[in-house]
């Protein structure tokens, strides 16, 4: 079985609808959990890791949690090709580290891909809920539900004082990392982004690139997440991150308004140029595509470009990633072939959405 689940086109978060969808691309809550008395994955021999994977499979496979979204399917990563694993990374369903690890590691995915559970990553279980737009509360409630469901069958490593015990001491306590992926072209163009980010660490939050730890920010996309997990409740973390996010949203809207007011023609020219290149280019690198897609999205959000659904951005930023491209093509592609394929996919998607109508 070559992972039917990974070639699914859309994850729930890529639909892109919800509160503040013009700026917040997705909301995520991740809970780290370990099984009592069993050494953490990095100390476990393969046979014991397999036992844990089987245990999780017995608990969640085929189950529907929360009356929607479909049932869980558990996949052993050993059954997937490298490419398929990287597709999961590009859809944010597993971490890059998990994709690169060997041995009986696994992932449990709900059909709508709003919930993924990494098995034997740094911790035995990493329950993750990923929803479109600004839905941090919803993501936390969903993650909490899944956590409760699994806890009916597993004794988690928990200490009254220290909370949920995790492999890395930076996750102990709630074991929770909540994050939002933000699209902030306004703050970047007005050169305020770095200033805003610098203040984040002072209030206990971290800013990262699109694919988390150690990745580059591209397409003006940034991930904002909590740093502290011990000494604060889950609700505190969510409400703190939410209120800071709302502030940033306001700043971004303000920056966009200023751009429209002070450089409306330049901005209009810029976003239409982005559209022009995207809809006609024959060769395009990932970096160029991400930058132009971001500008296109800005143009649509500001009403400068009409007739294209803004959420095409959410789909294309994943479809044009390198593993996804190769998966779609069905063969391995050289970097140059990828740039050709990427340009083709973007062109097709853009004209599809326009329905052949003239837009200007």
């Amino acid at each position: 079985m070559s992972g039917t689940n990974v070639i699914r086109l859309n994850s729930k978060w890529m639909e892109g609808s919800g509160p503040n969808q013009d700026i917040v691309i997705s909301s995520r809550v991740r809970l780290a959990r370990n099984i009592k008395e069993i050494p953490f994955p990095h100390l476990l021999p393969e046979n014991r890791e397999r036992e844990i994977l089987d245990m999780v499979k017995n608990i969640v496979e085929g189950k529907v949690i929360g009356n929607q979204g479909g049932a869980f399917e558990v996949t052993n990563l050993l059954e997937l090709s490298t490419l398929e694993k990287w597709v999961l990374v590009e859809k944010h369903l597993i971490s890059p580290e998990h994709a690169q690890s060997n041995g009986p590691k696994g992932v449990a995915l709900r059909v709508d891909e709003a919930i993924s559970i990494m098995v034997n990553e740094e911790d035995h279980l990493r329950i993750q809920c990923l929803l479109p737009a600004m839905q941090l509360n919803e993501a936390w409630h969903l993650a909490n539900q899944v956590d409760n469901f699994i806890e009916e069958s597993i004794d988690f490593a928990f200490d009254r004082e220290k909370g949920y015990l995790t492999s890395c001491p930076t996750n102990v306590g709630t074991g929770m990392r909540a994050s939002v992926m933000l699209h902030l072209p306004g703050l970047v163009l007005t050169r305020q982004a770095n200033q805003v980010f610098a203040t984040m660490s002072q209030i206990g939050l971290t800013v990262r690139g699109m694919y988390g730890e150690g990745t580059e920010a591209s397409g003006n996309l940034f991930q904002l997440s909590n740093q502290v997990t011990l000494g604060v409740s889950e609700e505190d973390i969510i409400s703190h991150l939410s209120s800071v996010t709302l502030q940033i949203i306001e700043q971004e809207r303000y920056a966009r308004k200023a751009l429209m007011k002070e450089g409306g023609e330049q901005l209009e020219d810029r976003v239409w140029r982005a559209y022009g290149v995207l809809s006609h280019a024959r060769i395009i690198t990932s970096r160029e595509a991400m930058g132009l897609l971001s500008e296109l999205r800005l143009g649509i959000d500001q009403g400068l470009i009409k007739g294209i659904d803004a959420r095409i951005f959410n789909t294309l930023i994943v479809l044009t990633q390198q593993a996804f491209l190769q998966k779609t093509a069905g063969v391995e592609l050289s970097p140059f072939q990828r740039d050709l394929k990427r340009a083709e996919i973007i062109r097709t998607k853009l004209t599809e959405k326009l329905g052949g109508e003239k837009n200007d």
Partner: protein, 170 residues
């Protein structure tokens, strides 16, 4: 030659990759090459939190002054030694938190806002713990109410605490 990526700075780093007889060249400036190497497909070499943590424990005098005897200290359950922890930044099992408590506590205090968990308690296993936590938070609430001289509400909270304490004892 200008950098392929930023097209501004001169290219000083030259890559040649040959995959399936296909030659792929890239000319980058130093800054771009650094950024790119952080997230190269299949060779993730980004910043590692665990390594960072390990270095913090190893080089910070407030952790590094660990006496030799302690370095050999071992967790009875999983066998991880303290030295191994300082090297990898990862603990071995739930017992490690007790085994290395003396050394971990200052670290936790530095990373987090407090050393005491205030969040969720497991629904099933934590039944008793949950009641204890609830009593604790009610006690805080009681103090607040008394401070604000809202005695009627305080009395209600006090009764609730008594009820929960009975539940714990029984």
């Amino acid at each position: 030659m200008l950098c392929d990526r930023c097209k501004q700075r001169p290219a000083t780093v030259h890559f040649t990759k040959i995959i399936n007889n296909e030659k792929y060249e890239q000319h980058l400036c130093e800054e771009c090459s650094k950024e790119i190497s952080q997230f190269a497909f299949g060779s993730h070499q980004g910043f590692s939190l665990n390594k960072f943590l390990a270095n913090l424990i190893n080089y910070d005098p407030s952790f590094g002054g660990v006496e030799l005897g302690y370095r050999a200290e071992r967790c009875d359950n999983c066998g991880l030694t303290y030295t191994q922890f300082t090297q990898g930044g990862k603990l071995g099992c739930n017992h490690c938190y007790q085994a290395f408590e003396n050394k971990l506590d200052p670290l936790l205090k530095r990373i987090h806002s407090s050393r005491i968990h205030k969040g969720k308690v497991p629904e099933r296993a934590g039944g008793k713990l949950k009641v204890e936590k609830e009593i604790e938070s009610l006690r805080n609430e009681l103090q607040r109410l008394v401070g604000r001289e809202e005695f009627e509400k305080a009395a209600e909270v006090r009764d609730k605490i008594k009820e929960l304490e009975k539940k714990l004892a029984g």
